[in-house]
Subunit: 330 residues, 2 copies
């Protein structure tokens, strides 16, 4: 890869996670599908928060978690996303910088508050997310600095942020700049509801706009409207994009130009909270990719980072991921 | 005990804990004594926060943790303390109510923001706290409702809040009302720096104003300016107050009218973060006291609650304390 100042530039939601532990009955009582991610408005956010038990707040956001993981692997990432000029916005900005991630998107002064993701963790470690985007959706093209995109080896985008119009336009602009500069673009499908809302766009992205696509089993099946994972993977393999399919305890599959690499999951010390498993998988994978590792090794790094994150609450790494990778892969 | 609507009414700091993990060198580099609690101003709070790594936010406050623990033991507690009308204030109010604690102190609109406690946890589980009191110190006599104090079996006060003048006056008012109503008053020495700043006041409280006094070894030694715990305990025993001395892994000692009850510590599954150990000990003890248990059983309940809290980050209980007590004491 040619010289670059930034390993991975991520554009995503700048969210503070509000984590509560609850029994599955809490979800069914409130008609929330277990394991889902859904967007909610300010009123719903307030109503649901009032119903939740005691919470802990940890900075989150899917792509933000990924770049925090890349920094924990020794990389040089940067993040673009919008917070408000409020206490939760300060917490988000503090934490992402403290994690070693560049962050200079200007906080919004008049407008909605900093976005938050209400995460209900059930005793099986499953997480169910209700996200109030708030300031996140005010990210716009003006926040994309061309020179920064050009200086980044990989541009990484989260599907979650494809939903609101302004950030979608900002991501389209960034993709164009990155490709023009001969850089790589990576994208995560994020969630089934994102795929269902933007299926045509996402398939278009696979045709020449994105170099690496991440998705879990449910997401890639939703993309091709099939229940059959093999069908979905066959269709994914028809594009020139590197496709990375994550399969929880079954590990991951990497598809690239007719090749197919199957990598098992890495043993976790415990499964407390699966929030961020996909985000950290992407962190491990992209760290390896920027370092020029083989695709199977990229996937192995992904499984190591994912195993660390599910062993504790919160989706930002707490252990030295570089050391964990060195101990396993070398 | 006569009929009462509230088991324990606590008056204390309404703080959100900002928890960061760091090596001991971080403390020495910033001239912060390891294991200490100190008060800092807004500027210092901002400077120190900027130096800290990634954080998680969990509602805290010493007496607030205690009443959250009493609720987790099935009791009916209430809390009085001041937050600001800001996001961290909403988090505090949400969490303490979600824990089952009554809380209706009016948030402050114009004034300092909600107080926070920057907690550095070192790998040995020790916690070092730098507290910015913010809105906490604006609590005043007007916030003390006489009928509420009269309806509470025990009034519980934290020494930390004796420092700022307005809350001290509020606590003096509450003590007078409680005693007039024939209720019990409990007090925690909180910290060596509190004892050193208010030694004469605290000794006066022991002479007929407080029925139960909590303190750890360092605090009771500081109270009588001695290095010798036996000396300190002998002096404590000279007052008519029930004195409860907590000794970390050595358990606790209860002194009462010439009696001396020594109770060992309860085994913890792990020691991750000792924040809140003293607060939860008080929760267990007071829950037993209100239920009319013997003093040794009160202390045993205290050690069970303390063992739960040090096994995870954050000073609010995460397991069902009532079940833990039932399994051990019955």
């Amino acid at each position: 890869m040619t010289t670059h100042d930034i390993d991975v530039l991520a554009i995503g939601n700048a969210l503070v996670d509000v984590i509560a532990i609850a029994e599955p009955a809490f979800l069914s009582d409130n008609s929330i599908p277990k394991g889902s991610m859904r967007l909610i408005g300010a009123d719903d956010a307030e109503r649901l928060y009032a119903l939740l038990g005691s919470t802990r707040e940890v900075s989150g956001g899917s792509a933000a978690n990924t770049v925090a993981g890349i920094a924990a692997m020794g990389g040089k990432p940067k993040f673009v996303g919008r917070v408000a000029a409020d206490q939760l916005g300060e917490v988000f900005a503090h934490d992402i910088r403290a994690a070693g991630v560049g962050f200079d998107t200007v906080p919004m002064v008049d407008g909605p508050p900093t976005g938050r993701c209400l995460i209900v963790v059930t005793p099986d470690g499953d997480r169910t997310m209700s996200t109030y985007l708030g300031a996140c959706q005010e990210l716009s093209e003006a926040d994309i600095d061309a020179a920064t995109v050009q200086a980044s080896a990989v541009l990484y985008l989260e599907g979650y942020l494809w939903d609101p119009a302004l950030p979608r336009a900002a991501m389209r602009k960034a993709i164009a700049i990155s490709r023009e500069a001969g850089r790589k673009v990576a994208f995560t499908l994020s969630d089934v509801f994102c795929v269902e809302g933007h299926r045509d766009d996402f398939i278009t992205l696979l045709n020449g706009h994105v170099d690496i696509m991440f998705g879990n089993e449910n997401e890639v099946c939703a993309l091709y409207k099939t229940q059959n994972l093999d069908d979905a993977m066959a269709q994914l393999a028809s594009h020139s994009t590197i496709a990375v399919v994550t399969r929880s305890e079954k590990g991951a599959v990497v598809l690239n130009k007719g090749e197919r690499h199957v990598v098992p999951c890495h043993p976790a010390t415990q499964v407390l909270d699966t929030t961020g498993a996909g985000d950290l998988f992407a962190a491990g994978f992209l760290s390896g990719f920027v370092a020029g590792r083989s695709l199977p090794d990229c996937a192995r790094q992904g499984t190591i980072a994912a195993a660390e994150i599910i062993a504790h609450y919160g989706a930002r790494p707490e252990r030295d991921l570089r050391a964990l990778v060195a101990a396993t892969i070398g």
